[in-house]
Symmetry: C2
Subunit: 559 residues, 2 copies
């Protein structure tokens, strides 16, 4: 007699229990404040559950952590234990984890300490650095669910492949070789195709800075975890904003590299093989210096020898130089022609612009080819198969789609067959032509900057909102345009919502229903205190420059 | 009353007449030997129609030409005139041209001479260098047919676009800015999707070294023209061997760069938008030094600022260094598991291997993952749309497909609809997995070379044949595998067929019908004298290294 197939609810509950029980009993909080009772759980709130040393460790930046673990100031073990503890708190406060493997992490950390003592040198440039991973990376000993109940106990939905809990993604192997300590996997929306983090296993991941709001997505667990300093740096992926949205919503720096810069090899995905617009992998952290350390370290491994889609482009230090008196040219995007910015986001754009102008940098208005026409090619690529791949993952368990996903992939939207080769080819041509048009617009700004050169960097919103309302109306155009263009972009935190100044302009006139619905979601009382981030956009494969300029701008903002 | 649509034969004949009449009367040969009468029209044969100075100019290599035109040794005008003359002869002997624009070229050359005189410096690193172009590049004042009768008088098959004879491909603009002189467009097979050059306008392009045989394709006119030294360097494109096949068949060096190294922007193509395996653009010339000059010059223009698919990778001089005593590791591919090599190609492989071994270099046997499974993903990509795009181009005029094309795209083969998104995604995944498997095989050779490093370069045939027989059975697996892998490869001439030694091994046992049919086409009498070339294959985006090693190996062969 075949085993009875269990209802998806039973499987999901068992997994949730297992996640929660994996947190050591002495790190569990006896009672948890409801979201309404305690909006902001970052900073002093979370610190009350930590020792002074744990606070010092977990609030150190990645370069400081690596320096400490390689000089003996801290052991890798004590660092790992501190982050395991703080990650446990973060999960209890936001639902940000899909898996913990603290014991393995502490064993790995101990081995690193032994390695250092024995060899007198670190294992690699990330020696002893805890790194969190979105639940899309395959890690030995751990399962990957990508938010699907149907993937529990399988390898990407298939049983008996021999790869279950054994296979590791290329990036994971590289991180280990570099000396990183892996300890947890973070929550994602099932499918990864939305900017909120919701699934039938962990439910909803909240924004720790303002638990009325979403942590963002799809790398949302990363955003919440790092926002609470439960991780010094983590890795996400981005095909429309999935690194930058959670980074911005949580007051963090998140790099969306161009496709082919960092290895995606060996990671599952929705619609794997859709190659009109590739998803990319990139880091999120509380500082640019952390992102630089990780990217530079990964490139030192020559990932192009292990991932056929990575280009042979080593880290280029010479492109990170901004001399003391250098005048940069920025452009500023204040509106994408589709959706208007919520007041705090508008203020953030103005703040950055004014501060840079005060430093003597040139700022021009960014008036590019209509974003809408480029975005159409992106949204078309997301639904080439009319949702067939995504729906087959839901069918494994019979679990329902979250409404955020159903609005994109619900069966009622996709009665037709997948798109055909002729449609796909035409969409690829349309995207390429849009990219060409946009790049020539960028080139044309050489006539406007006064330097004789085109703008260096475009300052733009990541989203029209500081953070999303749960199951609210969304617009991914501000982040998605970067994916259309395959540009490099890095988010930076600018300010927090202040209900006393961030109020809707009474003269606001919406451009249409979408614009109106999104503005309607803004409420100063609800948003008060939330992080507000923006993105700095550079041209394709300009990771070094984008990071350097972001670090510079961050310095100007905090000066 | 609408104009009567003319039969395709009338349009084709008019175009052919116009090509032939564009050759100045004093350069027309009063009588032409039939192919049977005069097999080899290169060398002394073609020289008889040229002055001593014309011979000196047209047999100079690109770097020498540029040096001469920039030092005043030769004017750009005299160089242009010499190549226009020799190209005219080449066309009469092989049918290698689709268009000439000699007057414009001579005007451009005169302007360059004036520029030099006035400014005391050349316009750019290609100052005064004639460059021929496959009839796939758009050049101002000239039409692009890509071999289709239906494209005559149109822009890519469409009338009234306003781009006819005005629009220029990105590469063409770059060449002009670099100082190159453009003067002719060379023949291609309609569709570009075969390794022979045949269409309903110019008929068949012959191999000038042995007019029993094909010049190769699809950049076949380039091969024949440069093989006869009617051009010092030309540009072709390659999605399965279309640069390397004509280069090898004509005793030339042809570089197939990895996708994204050189700009393809603004060029028409068959199945444009099919982006599983991208066609690439690359140069063909009689020396590696010529290829290096062109690639380095093009990269100096930062083409990534004008083509969204070009990666920001400048020319890397440091990767061209091969020190005097450096021992390189080569691998040799003697059989791809599908089709056996004709005797002269087998001998060429042995010759190169032996010479390199004598120099003390390490050679290992190349036993990669079965090529067949990788090639299936390439061939699938060529027919995603089941021939719809190609057939629509034939339908414009009603002209018939050449049999070489009908065997791939004939209506009788493709009754079904285009493939769908699910099929295409699965094919993309299969290709990526094959690339990964292959790259790890390459990495694994570190254990075999004795240097602790993987092989530097793989020595491989471009085709199982020295050159194709007209409308013979073909196998593009040897060239196509490089496109599957997106590796960099450069051809090099090794020897010529010698009927006295290149005979079929009586013990040859075919692996199957294809293998048998291809070996059956070998006949020492027919092939005698033909060029035999091979390719040297490097990893992705290793253009500098592949060119440097090819130059080194060429030196060993001629020492």
């Amino acid at each position: 007699m075949a085993a009875e197939k269990q209802p998806w609810q039973t499987l999901a509950k068992a997994k949730l229990d297992s996640i929660n029980q994996s947190i050591p009993a002495h790190w569990r909080l006896p009672s948890l404040p409801r979201n309404e009772e305690r909006r902001d759980v970052t900073g002093d709130y979370v610190r009350q559950f930590l020792s002074k040393e744990e606070i010092e460790i977990t609030e150190a930046l990645a370069p400081t952590i690596v320096e400490s673990t390689t000089t003996g100031h801290w052991t890798a073990e004590i660092v790992a234990r501190a982050f395991c503890h703080r990650a446990s708190l973060a999960h209890q406060l936001t639902n940000c984890l899909h898996d913990t493997f603290f014991d393995a992490a502490i064993e790995d950390a101990k081995s690193l300490d032994v390695y250092l003592a024995k060899n007198g040198k670190p294992k690699g440039p990330l020696h002893g650095l805890p790194v969190s991973l979105k639940d899309q990376f395959h890690v030995k000993g751990v399962e990957t669910t990508m938010g699907y109940v149907g993937w529990l106990g399988t390898f990407q939905g298939k049983k008996g492949t021999g790869k279950e809990r054994v296979f590791e993604s290329e990036m994971v192997q590289e991180l280990r070789d570099l000396g990183a300590v892996l300890y947890c996997k973070t929550s994602v929306p099932h499918t990864l195709m939305t900017g909120e983090t919701v699934n039938n296993i962990i439910g909803y991941t909240w924004n720790p800075k303002n638990r009325n709001l979403s942590c963002g997505g799809s790398s949302g667990g990363e955003g919440a975890l790092i926002g609470l300093r439960g991780s010094p740096i983590g890795l996400g992926t981005d095909i429309g904003g999935s690194i930058r949205i959670p980074a911005a919503f949580n007051g963090l720096y998140g790099l969306r590299p161009s496709a082919g810069r960092l290895p995606y090899q060996g990671m599952p995905n929705s619609m794997d093989g859709q190659n009109s617009v590739l998803s990319v992998v990139g880091p999120i952290a509380p500082s640019v210096s952390s992102l630089q350390l990780l990217v530079k370290s990964l490139l030192s491994r020559e990932p192009w020898l292990h991932d056929p889609l990575v280009h042979d482009i080593p880290w280029r230090d010479e492109r990170t130089v901004i001399s003391k008196d250098q005048k940069l040219s920025f452009a500023v995007l204040r509106h994408d022609g589709v959706v208007s910015l919520h007041p705090p986001v508008k203020r953030a754009v103005e703040t950055v612009t004014e501060r840079l102008e005060k430093q003597g940098h040139r700022i021009i208005e960014w008036k590019p080819p209509a974003h809408k026409s480029g975005l159409d090619t992106l949204f078309a690529a997301w639904t080439y198969d009319n949702g067939a791949d995504v729906r087959s993952a839901f069918e494994l368990s019979g679990e329902p789609m979250a409404p955020q996903i159903a609005s994109l992939y619900g069966a009622e939207l996709h009665a037709g067959p997948p798109k055909d080769a002729t449609f796909i080819a035409a969409n690829n041509v349309a995207r390429r032509e849009y990219q060409k048009e946009y790049m020539e617009y960028w080139n044309s700004t050489a006539e406007l900057t006064g330097t004789g050169k085109p703008v260096d960097i475009v300052i733009a919103p990541v989203a029209p909102v500081a953070a999303g309302r749960p199951n609210g109306v969304s617009w991914y155009g501000y982040s998605g345009i970067v994916n259309v263009l395959d540009y490099t972009a890095c988010t930076l935190p600018v300010t927090t919502v202040d209900k006393s100044i961030d109020v809707v302009d009474p003269s606001f006139k919406p451009l249409g229903d979408l614009d109106s619905s999104i503005m309607d979601q803004y409420d100063p009382e609800i948003y008060d205190g939330a992080h507000v981030g923006l993105q700095l956009i550079g041209r394709r494969l300009q990771e070094e420059k984008v990071l350097a300029v972001t670090e510079y701008v961050a310095g100007v903002l905090t000066a």
